[in-house]
Subunit: 333 residues, 4 copies
């Protein structure tokens, strides 16, 4: 860690700062420049509060020269992590298609969609049982019942299931779930992350609405530091001043996360854009820049034909898309 | 709710949409314009999924004409809510100063600061026992022990206490706490909000890092719809591309929230700016634009004299500030 | 245009508003609902100031039901515009690779790079003669001399040239330039746009740092309304709170702009990410989601071998990329 | 400037980088740490391209330890700059109220408002003659005629005038204008800034829509480096994901700009919020946190009584506000 001292700092204050830092067990490498004095901190700086240092009136700025994430850092683990979900592999060259409805609504619905997406090429089934909703007056999901229906759909199709957990207290209901999803709003629910770190099953961690890549990796670190290394990162769009699209899909996060970390990175084009017509082009783009998979909303209710334009694709469109994704991946290699 | 149909929509698709909406129990007021057809939906539209409607390919846009928040809406409750914390009143013309350290560290520290801020004019004591930290390797707070130390400080000074709850499972520890704080990262932890709605004690709800005012009010609505009307809103800075300041303090949120809602609105200038030197001017600004209170970080450790420039003020500076805040409020009335 | 009146608006104020709107030559369709009154404005509402209407105290909200952009709107011109630059076609299925250095530095440099990128598959040559720089102390480009060097490079290779114009007064220097580029910082320099609208040559219009798609289209409208229909839109990354990347490349803008407008849309992955290693994956992603071209920084100075990792690619890497881009486009069709 | 080298950088690449930097005339202070090598660059680093350095594949990160702005930097000019406009002083403890209509519409209008705002306590008159508009179909201002009407209003009232210049070629029309305003969209129109730097009259420089404080100061630097030191900075709201307000007024920019620079800083609450009801509270807040002035939209047309709620205040409301602003400033001192 490097601390740049302001040019007008008094020697006393500077001395005070140095002895305080030494008191934390750090070595100090002092470099007095023509205009600035720079302190190099040597030793374990992970406990040093950068914000506090930066806010001292004699400090101009502070810079970490080593990353604070370790478990998920590619520097220390050069090889890609491959996450295994039953026979399905994610990462390290293995691409995965996750598909299913926004919410689980009924046995007929979820089993029907599961069969349709399996036939269309999906590797895993997604479906929301617990739904985070901005308004308390909106449908909150079938909860425990929805979990049971997902298991029925798995039994009928063999597709492993991915579903969102919103709260620690619901954990017992997820015992038999294959992949636990942490939604964007819970990306920094640290107690939940720690608890998921004690499990022996894959966690799909979505990037928060306005979180940086470093914060996403630090949240993965919470899970991994507690012992669970089966983490899948997911880019799902960030909040900006976008006018025609719900969020801004940050696809450059895919190659950048691959450079920073060995974890697999998938993309959710359905939530990122909020518009079904945008899902195919953005899925192809995600595949082209190296994503390890896609999680896509698909519906299958013929009576909802009017929803053609919605966030969800029909199984037929999903099937065509799955094929094109494979071609694009091959071309981009 | 108003639905604008695209000019090139086929009559069949339009018919399908109308009958689907009627199937939801809504009345439809059809207005065929020269260039566009507009549907006015009459009845309880709170269950209608705007995102879904907006994503239909025949729909140009959708607009709610009535707010979806009810309990916290000033339209339905014109008078200011006054939240009572023991003898302290917040809102409706009553201004409150909340002060204390970022984290509870020891009995000596918290009792010392409590006495100092009380002498300097604080009405409530704040202090973190459970600390949400971006990194799993950073100090996470004294937890239960910190809660006990806060109670000791209250006993010694009579100041009611405000402290953050991060997780439902810790709720029993907070039974004797005066005001439960929901932090920015938990603003959309809906299960936590619902549970806090069943309590009979004030909740201080901080705006999330990148949440809109409507989302903040919908989160207040979660608490209130569950029966607890004692909610205090808190603006604490939002994430932007700011370079010299940690977050962007959105002070115009104060008069706007007052217009939209009857709930009290306080401001946290310490976290918004991250720099102690910025806390006094932004505290005065908050008071000038009508905030109902301030929550400010204050430290009291003489051995940390070097922290003068940090996010926390000394009790002396806090005391001077408290006086000026009173003068500015009087001048701004 | 739809105007929603607040429920507590007095009949007098409402009458005043209606007669004011009628005074602007608009027809009013009044719809009195249970909770709200809604005015439908009929006629030419393009002159109505939405911001003013929205700010009236009796007005709840305002919504335009028709787009304000006309010349560039796909609704009125369903077929793709094809921009012709000599023999090179852009849009309507024609893909273009634009390559060259950030700044023109010398004849040797620009001619060398021009030959190299031509051999590697470029269709047009880019190079900055006038450079917008945040700091007055940074290199501002070779200006007129740079323009002459670009022409030399064109003569040697036959590649048409694209270069940025920053100011109306420099226009005479650009008489013989093939494509005039408007940079992100000038996207809303309306006088410049109007003047470019009087020319008979293609304009490459970059999206501003924090501009919406609608604002980009309105800026294209400035050029087109003055008579020049040869406009190429360019997505080059927007400003967010990104940590590891310079800007956030908003690739979903590509299919969305194609839906809204008939103009060609190209992508600049070099400025969007600021990192050469990210240029190939993001170029492939842009091609996969339907971009009509790429504008990429390429350098060719063997003595700058250390710049391998910079924003600019070598001609060799560019050549490999150009081939892969073709394969990905074919696969994504 | 500090350059942190990646741990896996080859010695050859490192050598190449060092000799390249030495070739630029810089001294290099090499510090080999346990995990990282850090280069300290000594000498004039203002010409070093940080982005290029940062993008090299052997470079982890780069940090400037000295500011690149000099003329406007408080470090080198500790005393406040006082800008003189006739007898009116701005900065260094002198507070200024600038008021007037959004656009100049007619002699009757501008003279009427000028008299009214003078009576109500304004020090300068504002009014737009050249109007930057997002749409080419919106009113673009009376241009030269508007300038003449402003001069008439000045003659009648003695109030100095402030008006926006959009383009270099219009400069001759502004010869007799007291303060030239550079609007948000032109904050990085560098040719315009340089030309204004050659004048001997005050420039009011508005912060761009999404520009950082450093970028604002660098734009001031463009004017000052060309010889004109009479620059007034203006915070007018930045673009975020705000829902109920047009922009987000970044008031903490006021004390921060005062810390970084000796230039006066004023605030525009009218454009920041877009709602007249929000102008009084935000004006008081601006005064409370140390702004050196306010620029406020005021209208005076009795037939526009319905505009009470719009962005513009009536002279009566402005007059009351001017008084309160004085009281709040006194209380905040």
């Amino acid at each position: 860690m490097i601390v740049v001292i302001k040019s007008n700092a008094s020697p006393e204050k500077q001395e005070q700062l140095i002895s305080w830092l030494k008191g934390m067990g750090l070595g100090i490498h002092l470099s007095v420049g023509e205009f600035q004095t720079v302190l190099g901190l040597i030793g374990d700086t992970s406990k040093v509060d950068m914000d506090l240092l930066e806010s001292l009136d004699i400090v101009d700025s502070v810079k970490r020269v080593s990353e604070t994430f370790k478990c998920c850092n590619r520097k220390f683990h050069p090889d890609d992590t491959v996450v295994n979900v039953g026979d399905v592999k994610i990462g390290g060259g293995n691409f995965v298609m996750i598909a299913g409805p926004c919410s689980v609504e009924s046995e007929e619905q979820i089993v029907g969609i599961a069969k349709a997406v399996k036939a269309a090429g999906a590797d895993l089934l997604r479906g929301g049982a617990f739904k985070p909703r901005t308004s308390p007056y909106d449908f909150q999901g079938l909860k425990g019942e929805g979990i049971e229906l997902l298991k029925t759909a798995r039994k009928e199709t063999g597709l492993p299931i991915v579903t969102e957990i919103m709260n620690l207290k619901d954990l017992p209901l997820f015992e038999d779930i294959d992949v636990l999803q942490v939604g964007a709003r819970n990306m920094q629910n640290f107690d939940l992350l720690k608890e998921l770190g004690t499990l022996h099953k894959p966690v799909l961690l979505k990037r928060g609405l306005a979180n940086t890549l470093k914060e996403l990796l630090m949240s993965a670190e919470y899970i991994m530091a507690s012992g669970n290394e089966q983490v899948i990162l997911c880019e799902r769009g960030i909040r900006t001043y976008s006018d025609y699209l719900r969020n801004t899909l940050d696809l450059a996060a895919v190659p950048m996360l691959h450079e920073l970390s060995h974890l697999p990175v998938i993309v959710d084009p359905s939530h990122a854009t909020g518009i079904a017509r945008m899902v195919p082009p953005m899925s192809l783009a995600a595949a082209a820049c190296g994503a390890d998979g896609l999680i896509i909303e698909v519906h299958n209710d013929p009576s909802h034909a009017l929803c053609d334009g919605a966030q969800s694709l029909t199984p037929a469109v999903f099937g065509e898309l799955a094929e094109k994704v494979r071609s694009v991946r091959a071309a981009a290699m």
